[in-house]
Symmetry: C2
Subunit: 469 residues, 2 copies
């Protein structure tokens, strides 16, 4: 395997490591393989019929050309990029930036950044938004806004957009609006599409057939990435390589197949919390992105035939080493209801050596001459072994380095694993029927026309509570 390739080690998920009651046996893996292979065959067949289109994004040369041209056109004069988007329109692009730009990107002087400062507004907190507008204030002409919404009707993004549109129109006029705004939306129809067409704003497509949480490798994630200096060619090359790897029917050569097989096995035996536990600050928001992918895709009430099933592993993000000092007590001594996916980085882009000094206390001398990278690696290994000592199953996913190429692999790996898990759980991983009710209630509470009846019903339910402390 080339050294720039992600690698999955599942030795510590096996019964040999954590015992029969908590580990998966080689026999179990053998027995589960036909179902996984069948799912892979079916998925590859469905791909030829136009399904699972996120898998083909890396092969879309036109997409890369379009995004790079847009980034060249809008990016260079800008000091700030503000993304208005939420959920699938934000989590992937945040993850790319955290992984591939410096942790203190926004504090670096312009000359030391590869792109503008970045602000992602994936909430409608009024303090957060008002403060951002203040900070941008004088810099508004050099601020690019990228509003991302397939329909344009997501309440949070729409509200922010109406505020920003008004601000840009007042401060910069119609021309400024056109220069400082990129709209990422449905290529054919929808509220935001219609508005953009009517006003002549520049648009990028949210590709048809790719759901929000699978859209990071479309213009949704790629445009902000390219504007901020991330090499999206290499990102897509990595994703493309992984897309080929996960098509393999050989479970032992297909990391998505093995991940799905094991996580499905753990789910069915009651380990319903799946903890993604990267050791590296730059990987933390990939764990947050995974959280949406896993929860929204796999938490379902009915199976593919509409029969009641009620499934759904709960994804949990943790961060090493930080959460050793927060969660590991529970992880080792609490109920054995979790499986851990530790993620390591073989070589960090930079390292810091711990210096020697005569006055270093004896109890700390062991650290002298080592590096923070070495300490990080030791802590990751130590934590995995300590979890195993408590019979907690662990998987280990290894990044050789954090690069656009390996991050692309990671993204495609988890997306493909999610599709496979959907097949193994026999549910549709691409819908999200349960989020509609909350949206309807919000419309009703906000007085949207057409929701009057629901609004009356809600008002009846929102009586002052008698159960207050």
């Amino acid at each position: 395997m080339p050294s720039a390739t992600l690698e999955l080690d599942y030795a510590n998920a096996l019964a040999a490591a954590v015992g029969q009651a908590h580990g998966v046996s080689p026999a179990e893996i053998r027995r589960a393989q036909p179902a996984v292979k069948a799912a892979i065959v079916q998925i590859e067949k469905q791909r030829r019929q136009g399904e699972h289109r996120y898998r083909d994004l890396p092969a879309d040369r036109e997409l890369l050309r379009t995004v790079k041209a847009a980034a060249r056109r809008f990016g260079p004069r800008m000091n700030n990029l503000v993304v208005l988007g939420i959920g699938g329109s934000a989590l992937g692009m945040i993850a790319l930036q955290t992984a591939l730009n410096p942790p203190l990107h926004n504090l670096l002087p312009a000359g030391r950044r590869r792109g503008p400062r970045l602000f992602v507004m994936d909430n409608v907190d009024p303090v957060q938004f008002a403060d951002l507008l203040d900070v941008l204030g004088p810099a508004l002409p050099k601020t690019l806004f990228n509003v991302i919404s397939k329909s344009g009707e997501t309440a949070e993004t729409a509200a922010q957009f109406l505020i920003v549109r008004d601000l840009l129109a007042r401060r910069l006029g119609k021309k400024g609006l056109a220069r400082n705004l990129v709209v990422t939306t449905d290529p054919e129809s929808g509220t935001l599409r219609d508005l953009a067409d009517a006003e002549g704003w520049f648009t990028l497509p949210v590709p048809p057939g790719v759901g929000g949480r699978f859209s990071v490798l479309s213009a949704v994630g790629l445009f902000p990435a390219a504007v901020c200096g991330i090499n999206i060619d290499r990102l897509m090359a990595g994703a493309g390589e992984m897309s080929r790897r996960v098509a393999s029917r050989s479970v032992r050569n297909n990391p998505a197949a093995m991940l799905a097989l094991l996580l499905h096995a753990f789910y069915t035996r009651g380990k319903r919390m799946h903890v993604l536990f990267p050791y590296g600050y730059q990987l933390k928001d990939l764990a947050d992105w995974y959280r949406q992918l896993w929860a929204e895709s796999l938490g379902k009430r009915v199976d593919r035939r509409g029969q009641p099933v009620v499934v759904g592993p709960t994804p949990i993000k943790a961060l090493g080493t930080t959460d050793q000092h927060s969660q590991v007590q529970l992880y080792r001594e609490g109920p054995n209801d979790k499986v851990f996916i530790l993620v390591s980085v073989e070589k960090f882009a930079r390292d810091v050596r711990i210096p020697r000094a005569k006055t270093t206390p004896p109890a700390l001398r062991y650290l002298e001459g080592a590096s923070l990278g070495k300490l990080m690696a030791a802590e990751r290994r130590a934590t995995e072994l300590a979890l195993v000592a408590s019979r907690r199953p662990c998987l280990h996913l290894r990044f050789p380095r954090i690069t656009p190429h390996t991050v692309g692999q990671f993204i495609m790996l988890w997306e493909a694993t999610t599709t496979l898990m959907g097949h193994l759980l026999d549910i549709n991983p691409y819908d999200q029927p349960a989020v509609q009710l909350g949206k309807d209630y919000t419309y009703a509470l906000m007085g949207k026309p057409g929701y009057e009846k629901q609004a009356r019903a809600l008002r009846r339910r929102c009586k002052p509570s008698r159960y207050l402390v």
Copy 2:
């Protein structure tokens, strides 16, 4: 109840709202009250014998005086404050800063901040640390370091500290070290205490009898807060008020008692994931702080008599509205194994109105004239009602405003609830025996003297894996 007081509404946790199978009945609450009252009586008795000392921190006038004097002495000339600490030495102070300073604090010009920029290094990621040192570079003379460790032997904090000490000594000399360093550590003994005494560095105490995860209202959290301009008098006043409220034997007037009673009832009936779900960016790190408090205190293998018990609710942090677009599909349709604690803010410090315009598409007109604060409140209520429609029990904790006073209440409320939960689960909430093994393994892998035998054993276990994909 005064309007500046946190309020708990548990109507939607009751059987009347979510059904017998998933809600708690009034009769169940009545039956559980004697045990809760007995625990409160016992805790208050133990307090008089010197236990649960975190409860008395708000009454410690000397502590406030010491911290404020230190902040006045070290803070004013500084442009940067770097905190070196992890776990209980970081999570609380981060939560205070996020809650009570502007979201973009570090990007504001010095004149518009109430204190220096703040960097908390609660990890040993080498890229993150190297980048920080670069950014600080020329500003080092105006950078205050606050190293926080009770023992001084926490590997992560010790490693960072050795690097920073060397840097300060080389760049600023012995005098600079003394001017740019505040050490928060054990007042009596330990590696860091000995070193600070030998070198003459300024120190603040980690109070005896207060564990790391209960230490935010000691110098650990208060000093960085005061340096960054947070009103710690009002914070402590709020915490003190709550400390009195949670001493009440009347469960219906004691929010910690009702929270513990309900969360314990939900735990015993299989709802083992406790989701803290604030609606407000500024509250998000309080949810992260809660995550440590709940996990590390309540995840235990043995009860108070050392008998096997294996308990522990898994705390989960979510953020509204963001996670509606990430987790709510699972929360509504997945297994009904969670209880939700939604947190709202009645009035935000700022708000932003959504302007009217002739060109606003009809589908978005309902937003015009409303504010982001109103939208946030509607989304919170809509999500709670949608969860209830799926028979998911919800608690609602209401902040009238986010102020030092209410944040102090929130902190004390959850600390007291944790102690009570420990009593109800019959475990010791103050120890963390399971984290030692990982520390020992780290020492062994890093070559610390005294761990040679363990190191050899680990090397035998760390053979190249045959289970790679």
